[in-house]
């Protein structure tokens, strides 16, 4: 695939390195001369100095034959414009934008960006995972955003610990898919007993998350 990466910062650099190692044709567009030089030294001639939001730069980069454009600068507005120009002027089939301000996620989707990756949200989620006091952790939001996968730690004193799965009252559209307990991970049946201190992986709706947490932690 021919992939254009807009922004040669840390994200752009490591992303391109990975894509290159997977055998893709990659071109990085970066405004800063020093960054361009550093990338050329490390990865070879895969970088063009220029503004990835400018139609002329994108035309010179052969954007009309690109399969994908990924905009990963530090500025949300620059990522938005780079993707919009790629999409509308050069008919690039797939555009991906990095978002720094999580509030922009809905806007970008509305404006036709195919995929958004919110770096702030990702970092928050990872930190959340490492905070031991937090009983419910987001693992993944499924495409479309209507369902998500979460991890819940069952506290020692939970009212549902020791109960069979079928006896546990879960909110609608919520399913426990996996229990990771003393004996390892298992896909539970209705008769599986929920162990205290086990972790469960569940599918739920974002609006039912709080109810699910309450049902499993018994508070």
């Amino acid at each position: 695939m021919y992939i254009i990466v807009v922004g040669g910062g840390k994200v752009g650099y490591y992303l391109s390195k990975t894509l290159l190692s997977e055998g893709h044709e990659v071109l990085i567009l970066e405004k800063d001369a020093k960054k361009c030089e550093a990338i050329t030294e490390e990865l070879g001639s895969v970088v063009v100095r220029g503004d990835g939001c400018e139609a002329r730069t994108l035309a010179d980069a052969g954007t009309e034959r690109a399969d994908m454009l990924i905009a990963v600068t530090n500025e949300d507005e620059d990522n938005l414009v780079a993707c919009q120009v790629a999409k509308n002027k050069f008919k690039v089939p797939r555009t991906i934008a990095r978002i720094n301000n999580p509030k922009n996620e809905a806007l970008f989707k509305k404006l036709g960006i195919d995929v958004t990756v919110s770096s702030t949200n990702l970092i928050l989620e990872h930190i959340e995972e490492e905070v031991p006091t937090h009983p419910l952790v987001h693992l993944l939001t499924l495409k479309g955003g209507s369902l998500e996968i979460v991890e819940v730690k069952i506290p020692q004193n939970s009212s549902v610990a020791g109960k069979r799965m079928k006896e546990i009252d879960l909110p609608p559209d919520s399913v426990i898919c996996l229990m990771i307990g003393k004996w390892g991970a298992q896909v539970p049946s209705g008769d599986t007993i929920l162990e205290a201190e086990a972790k469960v992986i569940a599918v739920t709706r974002p609006e039912a998350e709080e109810a699910l947490r309450a049902a499993l932690t018994g508070s």
């Binding site: 400018e54 507005e77 938005l80």
Partner: protein, 132 residues
Amino acid sequence: MNVVIMGCGRVGAQLAALLDEDGHKVAILDVEPYSFRRLPSTFQGAALVGDGTDEDSLKRAGIEEADAFVAVTQGDNRNVMAAQIAKHIFKVPKVVCRIYDPLREEMYHTLGLETISPTTVGARLLRDVIVS
């Protein structure tokens, strides 16, 4: 008319002053409070520190009741993004956006934004002065 202006540079401040003189209700946003020195002392409208690409700042400036929104910061992309938020999220009836880069201006114009490129307008004016 209720007007929200993003960017209190020379153009933004001047526009705010003109609309204010005509009796319109103006709110002007800028990330840098020092920019508000450009507003005349007679200015009756609201000057708010805030980023026009942030929905909460726009709400504070009264975007939900605005009849018009104008984006005139130094950054083309910021203007484009703010204008699209005003148009598509807040459904402001009249949205105008300054874009210096003529190619970008042309594209966003075809995408339905009302745009002005001072580069094109300025170059034409200068040519007309020279050849007339």
